[in-house]
Every structure is written in C-alpha cells, then in structure tokens.
Assembly symmetry: C2
C-alpha cells in the first residue's frame, strides 16, 4: 500500500465521521472483536485470523466516548506523521498524546488504540510510521534499496557490515532488489548469528542470515516474507531445542494470535530445522530436564490448531518422551565448527 | 595490546606452570581480591580500581584445585580462539567446556573464571575474542577501518546505514580513521537514537550518535573512549531523568565496580546533559513520582565516591526535593521536534 493510499484511508475515515455529524447523527466505529473466542485458525491462509464477530464503538454511548475519541486522535497522529514523513515509537505516541489532552492511563492503553486503528483500517502500524523499539539483525548477499528520507534510491549490500545490519525503520521499508543467496536461514540467538557470519557459513551455504532475537518482531517477519516472496528465498528457522524455540519458528510460519488482524505476515512453507528433540539424542547434546513451565507449554501447543500437522505432533511427542531440552549453543560441546560442518551441513542438504 | 602480545601473555602463564611443576612444586596463582572491600575509588584515574588485597589459588589445596583447573582451561580456550582468529560468546565458552570434562556448575561460574583470567593477565576478554551477546548501536560521520577476517582494511562510513550499525565484534575492533563530527552524543534509548537520525539532528549538531541501550556494554564504552581519545570528540550523555539514567552516565564517566579490574574504559571529561531534575521543571515534562526503589538508589548514590562532586550532589538533592522522574521520550509532549530544536539546542551550545 502506497503512502498516498494510506493517507486516503485515514482521510476517508475522517470524512465519514464529519458527514455523519453533519447529518445530525452520532458516528460509530465497527471493529472486529479481538477476544480469544473470535480468533480462528484459517487453514487455507495457514494463519490465525479474526472471525466475524464485531464490536461497535458508539459515540452516543458515554461508556464508549473516551475510547472513541482516543481512536480518532491516534488516526490524527498517524496522518500527521505520514504527511510529515516522520516516524514515531509507540512510547513517543503515548507521550505525544498529553499535549492534546488525550488521557491514556498508560502506554498499554495507547498501544491498544494503535491496534484498533490497524483493525479499523486494515493498515499495519508500520505503514503509518509507528514502530516498537525492538530490533533484530540481518546479514547476507542481498541488495536492497532504501526509501527513507535522505537515503532515497541508495542501494545497500547486506554483507557490508560484518556485525550485521539492524532491521530498523530504514531497512524494513527498503525494497529487495536482488540476491545471490539460495536460502534464508533465521536463527534465534545473537551468538549463533555472529558465529555463522564469522565462520563464513553464509558463504558456504549461500545463505542470508537473520537473527530473530527470540520471538521475531513483526518488522522482521515482514522483511523475511518479502525476501521469500520477491527474491524466491526458501526460509529455514534454527532455534533452541525447547517448546519456546519451536514456537518461535511456528509464529514465523503460521502467525501469532496477537497479529491475527494483520494479513500477509506468515510464511507457510518456511521450515523449522531444529534443534528438534531427536537432534538432542542424535548429536549427544548437553541438555537439561524440561521444567513444569516447559511441560505446560507443550500441553498448550498440543491443543493449538497450528500444531495439527503430523510432523509437529511428532516433535511434541518426542519432547514429552525425552523430557529434555537444549540450546543452539550446546553444539559448542563438539568444538566451534561442529554446528556448521556437521549439523547445518546435514540440515541444509 | 597486539594479538601477538596477548598470545605471549598466555604462553608465559603456561610456561610458569610447567616450570613450577618440573621443579617438583605445586603451582599457584595470585589474583587481586574482587570483594567489595577491595574496590576503591582512585581519584587520580577517576575510576574504581582494585586495591592491594590479593587471594592465592593454590593447586596443593584440595579446596582450590577445581577452580585452579578451570582457570587453566579458560586460558587454554582463549589461546585456541585467538590463534584460530575466532571469537566466542560467553555462553559458547560455557558449553565448550563440557567436551573437556571441565565441570562448571552454570554459566555464572564460567563467566567468573573469565574475569579471573582478566585479572590474572591484565588483558580484557575482548582481546581474547570472548564477548557477551549484548549490543548497542552507532551512527555518524566517522570513518573506521575493519580488522576482522574477510574485511581487513575495508573502510566503513558510520552513516551508511540509516538504522545505525551494531557495535558488534567487527566494529569494536575497527580502527577510527577520521571524523567530520565535533561531538559524540550518547543516548539511552533506541527511540531517541532513531529520532535523532531521522530528524537529521546528527547533521545539524555535527554529532556522532551512540545508543547505549541502558547500561552501556563494555565494548561500547571502549569504542566511545577510542573515538574520544583518537578523534578528539567530546562526549555528552543524554539519559532518562531518573537515578538510573544518571548512573548510566556516571558509569561511562567514572567506571563501574564490576569493571574495576579493567583500566582504560572511563571517560572522565564526559558530561551528563540530562534529563536533570531541573530540566523536568524547566521544560514542564510529564513525570512520575519517585518509587521507593528510586529513593533507595539515590541514598546509595549519595554515599558513592563517584558522586562527591558538587554538581552530582546537587542533582541528587534536586531529585529528592522534586520527588519526580521522567523519560527522554517525555519531550514528545511538546511535539516531535521540541527535543531537537529546543532542548538539545540549549544543551549543545
């Protein structure tokens, strides 16, 4: 969606309100219900989506008027931002509200209003220039073209910084131009990311490396999806060998409940390459017993619609049988090169 | 210290042990005592240093033999790393030990052994290629020259990525070549860092920007110090307006107790530019009451040798009188440009 289209969506929203008021009526918003009961798994799209249940925010209702006004202000703030070609963190948005007498209890409340605006308009907040502070990194033989002010049209080679490049506001809005790589390998930890750069594993396997840093920020998932779609890069995900690591991969593949109102973030044919429970055994990795929290998480995942595939069911079964977990770094037990020369060599075949 | 010198230090350590054994004696290590009682503030160096108290680790003592062996293994691991031109995270080091039958209870124990090696040799772990995972970022008109493998001699302009560059293993070992900037401005939060890039405040104030991300990693402090010393950049630090933000600045200026065994990390003429308690009043910033934890922290700081200067005493007094704190982002209350056009304009005069 182009910048002009985004402004148009916001302008139309404002015009609707004004014309309703001119007709002597109270304006209302209809929003999809984001309650857990209205989040359904759409197997065709292979992601969570919101169901048909809706809620109405009615400005004639004194209980609704506060959040109604807050939502209008967030839309106003977003329009100002995009027209000024600026961006804002969610935290800045929260503080900016004070000058307008908009009374948010806390940042959690203003963050929710931003999600409401996303639902109302179908536009993800990144398009309005509103970002969280979280970051992950990328490194590999990809050329991208910046679109941010001061850097328009400038091309960047993602191998230029041997520490990787942060997936910040500039990179997440840049256009993928070309790649010499054959695969995108996303890894959970910064330590593994550094090791794969340093040992030149990226060259050996023709891989673009992405450091997820735990649950991947939406900006990173979106960048990975564009590299997958536009540059035909298959996506592999390498995480710690525990229920949480497995789920980091799952969210990249099939989406999260929290982002059920955003389409086009999932990569259904991405694959989790481990560390799987059977890898723990096969590679004789140092491991620890699953905790109660881990076991509880496995129970939740076994009831989760995203885990109905046979392969996922097997992973859960094996975790339960093995009762152990491990980390990506555990391969160091076999020397610094084992993870690249042996483990990844087999997985990337 | 050059790579060859570092290897020499480790080799000498090994030779000493072997020759002691050949003489039929039990080798011992003498280490500075790192207990809080032996950490003193050296006002000449303007940083914490370790006092004269020493501990002995004696291989003839069964209580010492375990940690004695662990320390030798860490020295061995460091020598392997540096000779292979590799690096390792602290986590990887912990896992690597298992293959050698070195029995660390947990990573905290292996991390302590790395500090022991630093104390024993006087060489910071970064010189051995051992790093934590933490990261901060940098952006500005500085040219640096990489020294890491595959990038030797390659120059990088630190404005090349509009998202900033991570201060990773490559950048922290790169050499500062030249700068067009006149000041180094370190900021606490990622949001402020992005804003100062995006609004081109770095250009307007001729500033190199560093994002500390809370308490600055040692690698970032070391890079800042080299930019200060080698390129004559004065250092200003801009943090949240609370006791914790003030102390983030203080650690850059005068060092931390945890790094008391490492010399050459402090920047005594760096300055904290706020947010000070009087800024909160002067700029009518949204603020919150100090919590009990904040007040307790103020008490600790008021007894801390680093806070004996009149200016610091005043800040503490004013925090206590005002009983309020704020964040960098709070300037957004006055619009997105206020922090640059008004606040920083005054502070950077």
């Amino acid at each position: 969606m182009s910048k002009r289209n985004v402004v148009e969506v916001l302008t139309d929203l404002g015009k609707d309100i004004v014309s309703t008021l001119r007709d002597g009526e109270f304006p209302t918003f209809k929003l999809p219900d984001r309650g857990t009961k209205n989040i359904v798994y759409d197997s065709a799209a292979d992601q969570f989506i919101l169901g048909n249940s809706q809620i109405t925010r009615d400005s004639s209702n004194t209980k609704h008027i506060r959040s109604f006004a807050q939502l209008i202000w967030v839309a106003y703030f977003a329009k100002q931002l995009i027209e000024a070609d600026r961006t804002s963190s969610l935290r800045d948005l929260y503080y900016s509200s004070e000058a307008f007498g908009i009374d948010f209890c806390d940042q959690a409340e203003s963050d929710r209003m931003v999600i409401d605006l996303e639902c109302l308009t179908g536009v993800p907040r990144e398009k309005f220039g509103i970002f969280p502070e979280e970051h992950s990194s990328i490194f590999g033989a990809v050329t991208m073209r910046y679109t941010v002010r001061g850097y328009e049209g400038k091309e960047v080679d993602l191998t230029m910084s041997p520490d990787g490049l942060p997936v910040g506001r500039a990179l997440m809005t840049a256009e993928p131009i070309s790649t010499e790589a054959e695969v995108l390998l996303a890894v959970e930890s910064g330590g593994m990311f550094s090791r794969l750069i340093e040992t030149r594993a990226w060259e050996r396997y023709n891989a673009v490396l992405v450091q997820l840093g735990g649950q991947a920020p939406r900006s990173t998932r979106s960048l990975m999806k564009r590299l997958h779609d536009e540059l035909d890069l298959p996506v592999l995900i390498f995480t710690d060998g525990d229920p949480w690591g497995m789920h980091i991969a799952q969210v990249v593949i099939s989406g999260s409940a929290n982002s059920a109102h955003i389409m086009g973030l999932t990569i259904p044919d991405a694959r989790w390459i481990g560390v799987t429970p059977s890898d723990i055994v096969e590679h004789a990795l140092p491991s620890e017993p699953l905790t109660n929290a881990d076991l509880k998480r496995l129970d939740e995942l076994s009831r989760d619609a995203r885990y109905t595939g046979m392969e996922w069911k097997n992973h859960i079964k094996e975790f339960r049988a093995l009762q152990r977990k491990t980390e990506q770094q555990a391969f160091s037990r076999h020397g610094a090169d084992y993870v690249v020369d042996t483990y990844l060599a087999r997985k990337l075949e």
